[in-house]
């Protein structure tokens, strides 16, 4: 369970959100510049809130007046917008980057499984600039999951893809979530995509939560 209660002063408004996330897909949806990425960054430990707290499965990541846990020690996978694959490393090296021990058989087995599940076995010796957008997304997913995170953050994971690839990757994300069963937190500004992926939709505007919607409940309400 991820619990986030944070406040942070941004350039044009104050970010102030409270969220509880179980092993579900939560989609943060809202216009650009509403503070969605900042929320992911504070959870990953790349930025820090001014006040509040962040805990994952009972472990404090951020507490007021305490030294925040560095990103290295947070068990969080992060899929950056445009993926941030390392351009000077092959796909294989990108995926293995987070391995603590290169001979860790369990970790190597997990990577094998990930590569198989995501269908990227034929790409392992290529460099990121030699593969397509959809393939990059799959590689980035494999890389983020290879460290066995307890939470996966995804910042506009599908925005760079064409419609068909996008639909395919949406299905892939849902399938992966079914297998991994950890909280996924996805940022998007595409409402249709949010509805398709999310167990819970959190609408954010100018740093505060406007409403929280359960799409499945909404569907039930229609009948």
């Amino acid at each position: 369970m991820l619990e986030v209660h944070i406040q942070k002063q941004l350039a044009h408004f104050r970010l102030d959100v409270s969220l509880k996330v179980k092993d579900e897909i939560v989609v943060l949806v809202g216009p650009s510049g509403s503070g969605k990425t900042t929320i992911l960054n504070t959870i990953a430990g790349i930025e820090h809130p001014d006040a509040g707290s962040i805990t994952l499965n009972g472990q404090p990541y951020f507490q007021e007046n305490r030294r925040p846990l560095p990103p290295q020690k947070r068990n969080v996978g992060y899929l950056f917008q445009d993926y941030a694959l390392f351009p000077h490393m092959t796909v294989d090296k990108n995926i293995r980057f987070g391995l603590k021990n290169k001979n860790d058989q369990d970790a190597l087995f997990l990577i094998k499984k990930l590569v198989h599940v995501l269908g990227i076995g034929h790409l392992t010796h290529k460099y990121p600039h030699q593969i397509s957008g959809g393939e990059k997304q799959r590689v980035a997913l494999a890389r983020a999951l290879a460290t066995e995170p307890a939470l996966l953050l995804l910042d506009e994971p599908l925005s760079a893809l064409d419609q068909d690839t996008r639909r395919e990757c949406q299905d892939e994300l849902l399938r992966l979530h079914d297998i991994w069963k950890i909280p996924f937190m996805i940022v998007t500004h595409d409402l249709a995509e949010a509805k398709k992926l999310g167990d819970t939709l959190v609408h954010i505007k100018k740093g505060s939560i406007q409403k929280v919607v359960d799409p499945s409940a909404q569907k039930l309400n229609c009948f």
Partner: protein, 229 residues
């Protein structure tokens, strides 16, 4: 002219080589450290780093004499405690070379670090990489084209250093006569043939360095074009 006397070439390469190693390590460290920190007075420090770029080399030489001269702040201390004299030695030429070429290395490294896509470093951190691993495997390799440009510029600047070297190391044939000094004193003594020889050598070295840098720069532009596609 005794054409077998290559002392100035060997000495120049030795001075510029050692100076480049010192400048590369300190320049990269300073640029990396300052690119990550924001503090009051950072601009003053950066301006001080770049100052030798705009000062006449004689002023740099004068400052170094105040520091390393026999009665200088550091010089007198070294002489008293370790019986080491810096001025009028080849190492004085290294110090002069370090001071004048440091700004070039710092500037190149600083630009390289500031232009990096910091999401790459953050991605590495979220995967558990220590700060040292992030620097070694992500920051340094990605900044390498800029660092290499700084390295080459520092080397050539060290090779061509004259004013500060003359003030701190003097002209002692066989000991502190780097190529630029050899040219100056050859002309002064009317040995135009000798001067021409060294001029050709140093022009060839400088020209091939710039050619290589341009070629390398263009290659990298092409590489990044591929990356952004």
């Amino acid at each position: 002219m005794n054409m077998t006397d290559y002392t100035p070439l060997l000495l120049s390469l030795k001075v510029a080589g050692i100076s480049t190693i010192i400048v590369f390590i300190t320049g990269v460290y300073a640029a990396y450290f300052l690119s990550r920190k924001k503090f009051w007075g950072k601009m003053v420090i950066e301006s001080l780093f770049l100052l030798p770029l705009v000062l006449p080399p004689t002023v740099v030489g004068f400052g170094l004499l105040i520091l390393f001269g026999k009665k200088g702040w550091i010089g007198s201390w070294l002489l008293e405690w370790f019986n080491i004299q810096i001025i009028f030695t080849w190492f004085a030429a290294v110090i002069a070379s370090v001071v004048v070429s440091f700004p070039l290395m710092y500037q190149s490294a600083s630009a390289a670090f500031n232009n990096l896509d910091h999401r790459m470093e953050n991605a590495a951190r979220t995967m558990g990489a220590s700060e040292w691993k992030v620097f070694r495997t992500i920051t340094f390799p990605l900044a390498w084209p800029g660092l290499l440009a700084g390295l080459v510029l520092s080397f050539t600047r060290g090779l061509g250093e004259f004013g500060a070297t003359l003030m701190l190391a003097g002209y002692i044939p066989g000991k502190t006569d780097t190529i630029p000094l050899a040219i100056y004193f050859a002309v002064e003594a009317g040995q135009m043939e000798k001067a021409t020889f060294w001029v050709i050598i140093i022009v060839a070295l400088g020209f091939s360095t710039i050619m290589w840098l341009n070629w390398w720069g263009r290659r990298n532009v092409e590489r990044y074009k591929n990356h952004s596609s």
